[in-house]
Symmetry: C2
Subunit: 247 residues, 2 copies
């Protein structure tokens, strides 16, 4: 389930300029390089469990994960989708408030709690980057609350596809915006999608079909989604269209 794997040099790291280390200078990076280990997980592995002690932090290097909570009767809500460069763990608290689960094979860059917390205190570039990332996540969580609280099922789907496209576009290897359309690789099953959107799997599936029939998306094998007109999808998500294409 969990394996240690060879560590890549930070300079070759795919998330070098987006993760907690983004603002580090070469000296600081050298310290991080000493501390880090790599771990790989299989699909479905639990990277953290709600209420469980966490003696480490990690950055996602490759793969995706969800952060979710499950109520006693089985209802589940995903509260965050973690992509490469996202951070797992909360400095100043030894427990995770949510379950974190790998959506596919995941590679983590891992730091032990005590040494990393000391590093944060002593390295303003890391502390400041962590602050920026937390505030971005806070904004994202609040944006998502608007979606969950006030949008229809169709709007939720559209908003999710738009948001995922934008997030992938910021990273590398994301959707290819060629020929007037974008291709998106969904990392979630319909059920995981439903848990993220606060819907049932059936409603999620029906709305995907509806968007397809309306020509807003094309559903392809292997969970690939083609978006012929990104602006049109944004409009479905109730956007005021002031943000140009993709970004």
């Amino acid at each position: 389930m969990v394996r240690l794997s060879p560590v890549k040099a930070c300079n070759d790291c795919p998330i070098r300029y987006r993760a907690v280390c983004a603002e580090c200078d070469p000296d600081e990076l050298a310290v991080l390089e000493q501390m880090k280990t790599y771990q790989t997980f299989e699909t479905g592995a639990h990277l953290a469990a709600a209420g469980e002690d966490l003696d480490h932090f990690s950055s996602i290097v490759t793969g995706c994960a969800t952060m979710s909570r499950t109520l006693e009767d089985g209802r589940r809500q995903t509260v965050g989708l973690l992509l490469p460069s996202d951070f797992i763990g909360r400095p100043g608290r030894g427990q995770s408030a949510f379950d974190v689960q790998a959506l596919g094979p995941v590679t983590l860059c891992r730091f032990e709690r005590h040494s990393f917390e000391r590093l944060v205190r002593e390295t303003p570039h890391i502390a400041s980057r962590l602050m920026t990332m937390s505030l971005d996540e806070l904004d994202a969580a609040r944006d998502w609350a608007v979606v969950l609280g006030r949008m229809t099922a169709r709007e939720k789907l559209a908003a999710f596809l738009v948001s995922l496209t934008r997030r992938f576009a910021q990273g590398a290897g994301g959707p290819r915006p060629g020929g007037g359309g974008v291709t998106l690789q969904l990392p979630l099953t319909r059920e995981e999608l439903a848990d993220h959107l606060g819907l049932t799997i059936e409603t999620t599936s029906r709305q995907m079909t509806a968007l397809r029939k309306d020509g807003l998306i094309d559903l392809r094998p292997a969970r690939e989604v083609f978006i012929p007109d990104f602006g049109a999808l944004c409009a479905e998500a109730g956007e005021d269209g002031d943000g140009g294409p993709i970004v």
Copy 2:
């Protein structure tokens, strides 16, 4: 609408040990004391508007406010309820992502953006407190996403009352936990409550009535809510009952 008002000494401040200044030592406090001004706002005043430039930060000293977004068609979702000691504004970004509106008379302790951002950089006690507060808000926002996405109207109401009781209990002058019950002063109208819960005003009102008829709460004049058995209300909110009374 806005007025400057006489500044209180930090040592007499009701939020001295909960706001951004909580970890400051006397020297640091003296610097803050030089920088701060007080502002008072009337009910309904906009403390910030989504997309608007913000050249300052503030802490709520007294009163309550909501953070919300309104879609073009008028649907509104509140994404946060701000109580005394809560912070308004986001270091590193000059614009507010949400509307912030006073629920009643509000007093703010205000700092100008540039001088405060410099202070944050130079004062680890402030930076660290800001980090802790942001992470707490992030957890709260994610907790709320679970409520919005997966709970029934009745559970939403119960969860909100429970959460508000706990937040007031941490501050001063909150609910009085005397005689086997708690009295809670709601700072929101039914409409504001509905916007926070992702419901309509009618459903909100009906569920309040239902909770009253079931003996879980007592509705009193002036938006006062009496909770005879806090644990019973927690159970309605779908809590696993591992957190003792009130906290």
